[in-house]
């Protein structure tokens, strides 16, 4: 007989001619019977000016056991290198700081925003989720997670229940998540608002600490019409315990010049007066998130919005949009845009004023300040004949902050005040099933 591929193709064509166009679209019986689905991603994140760089690899596997029962597990490994702004302000001259371990110092050149450059960390994380129907129209999901890095360990669990209504046009869900994190900072967690001391002097450092986070999520998904689906979530999050960043400091400055008060270290140590930050030991956040996907023919538009507010005085707004644009039968391009803005925490301070009484809480961590951030990028994907897909994503992230004018003192006005951040994100992914 003629070659086998030949036979298959000729039979398909003959059956197509016999049965008419209704059956000509190849709908493989095997296609949707993949029990396993594997999704993997390789990510590079790099900030400019020698700041943080991160390389990570993620593998997610999902096993379908039939009857809507699924098990999924995700393994992440990432390596972080580079420096992050420490919260101290820039000066006209160089500054020296004691590193977190208390065994060395590092120096910031004149005029530059101080970066803590002794940061190097590798993290492993494992998450697993099991979901299954509980009864007709009810779906139960339960998950657990674990992650470890050299100064931080996380353990978490979550559970959620979803119920469908109205021919599965509407879904209501409610979920609970709990996590317990143990923080063991290099050199020990510093006493809040204590001073950075010379090399070898760890008297302001304590040991390890921990924090607990409880999350409640209520979700509502609604099919609006044949081509549109909407999701709205409300979530409440309560954190308690050690919420400080043990490596962040504030500069204590002269009330007139705005320059950091200098000091002379005994042998090796800081050349200025720097105090470790202090944050409250509780934080309550609430957020409302809405997302809508709409198909315009073969194109799919996604828009999302989130509003968050918390009891630290931070309000934030996030808006995202992306448009998936098919290119031919097996590729697509998806431009993406994100805009984020947040207001500063009540206790956010650019610097502390010498002579004034210390506030109870203070932090110069740029992540608690006023800033806008924009992400622009695109994703490209290509589906292979065997159903697997590889994809690539390129994004550019830019954060621009500002400090409330009443907090800018004297000479600070002439220097870079907010450690603006820009980063490139490059991601390659591959997913397949079997």
């Amino acid at each position: 007989m003629t070659g086998n591929d030949d036979i298959g193709a000729k039979l398909a064509a003959a059956a197509c001619a016999l049965l008419g166009t209704a059956v000509c679209a190849p709908a493989s019986a095997e296609e949707s019977t993949n029990a396993w689905s594997i999704d993997s991603s390789f990510l590079y994140y790099g900030e400019s000016d020698g700041r943080v760089q991160d390389v990570s690899a993620i593998v997610a596997a999902q096993r379908d056991f039939g009857d809507q029962r699924k098990l999924s597990a995700t393994l992440t490994a990432d390596t972080l290198t580079g420096a992050s702004a420490s919260g101290a302000i820039a000066l006209d001259g160089p500054q020296t700081f004691t590193s977190p371990s208390g065994r060395a110092t590092y120096t910031t050149p004149a005029g530059e925003v101080p970066l803590d450059d002794t940061f190097h960390d590798t993290r492993f994380a494992l998450n697993a989720t099991w979901s299954q129907p509980l009864a007709e129209l009810y779906t139960l999901s339960a998950g657990a997670g674990f992650s470890t890095e050299y100064d931080y360990r996380h353990l978490g669990a979550n559970v959620s229940l979803a119920r469908d209504f109205n021919k599965r046009n509407t879904t209501l869900s409610a979920g609970l998540a709990w996590s317990q994190d143990d923080i063991d900072p290099v050199g020990g967690a510093p006493m809040p608002l204590s001073q950075m001391l010379d090399v070898g002097d760890q008297s302001h450092k304590l040991g390890s600490d921990s924090k607990t986070v409880l999350d409640v999520l209520v979700g509502f998904t609604q099919v609006l019409d044949r081509a549109t689906v909407l999701r709205v979530n409300y979530s409440y999050s309560d954190s308690s315990g050690y919420l400080n960043d043990p490596y962040k400091v504030l500069s204590v400055v002269d009330p007139l010049t705005g320059d950091t008060i200098t000091r002379v270290p005994a042998e090796e140590g800081p050349t200025g007066v720097y105090l470790y930050e202090s944050r409250p030991d509780k934080r309550a956040k609430q957020s409302v998130y809405a997302e809508m996907k709409r198909a315009f023919g073969a194109r799919v538009l996604r828009v999302a919005y989130r509003f968050m507010t918390d009891d630290w005085g931070i309000d934030s707004n996030t808006a995202e949009a992306s448009l998936r644009w098919p290119l031919g039968a097996s590729s697509y391009i998806e431009p993406q845009l994100r805009y984020y803005t947040q207001s500063h925490a009540d206790f956010y301070r650019a610097s502390l004023i010498d002579g004034e009484p210390l506030p109870q809480y203070a932090s110069a961590d740029f992540r608690l300040g006023d800033f806008d951030a924009t992400t622009v990028g695109f994703k490209y994907g290509h589906r292979m004949a065997n159903g697997s897909e590889w994809n690539a994503r390129f994004e550019y992230y830019q954060q621009t902050g500002s400090i409330p004018s009443q907090q800018i003192i004297g000479n600070q006005a002439n220097r870079e005040q907010y450690p603006d951040l820009s980063a490139v994100i490059v991601q390659f992914g591959y997913r397949f099933g079997f």
């Binding site: 999704d39 993997s40 991603s41 990510l43 994140y45 997610a60 992440t76 960390d121 993290r123 994380a125 998450n127 997670g145 992650s147 890095e149 100064d151 931080y152 996380h154 978490g156 109205n166 021919k167 599965r168 046009n169 998540a177 994190d181 999350d215 999520l217 998904t221 609604q222 099919v223 019409d225 044949r226 689906v229 909407l230 999701r231 979530n233 956040k285 957020s287 809405a290 997302e291 996907k293 198909a295 799919v300 509003f307 968050m308 918390d310 630290w312 931070i314 934030s316 996030t318 984020y340 947040q342 925490a345 608690l368 951030a373 994703k379 994503r393 992230y397 951040l421 991601q427 992914g429």
Partner: protein, 68 residues
């Protein structure tokens, strides 16, 4: 701000129709799933959690880290 957001949401809800199961061909496309790219979402959540003061909203995060 909060009040106008709520009104927009309610307005959208009132415009919905019931889609019959046999009309779900468009909605069944993988790219129409709200969880179509879970790894992208996890990566974004992690990056923004470590660089910004807000996190999550979409679902439960994958886990804490020392990055914030």
């Amino acid at each position: 701000m909060k009040r106008s957001l709520l009104l927009i949401l309610l307005g959208t809800l009132c415009g919905c129709t019931t889609v019959q199961p046999w009309q779900r061909d468009v909605l069944a496309r993988p790219e129409m799933s709200l969880d179509a790219a879970p790894l992208d979402a996890a990566i974004d959540d992690h990056i923004y959690f470590s660089k910004e003061a807000s996190s999550g909203g979409r679902g439960f995060g994958g886990g804490g880290c020392g990055c914030n």
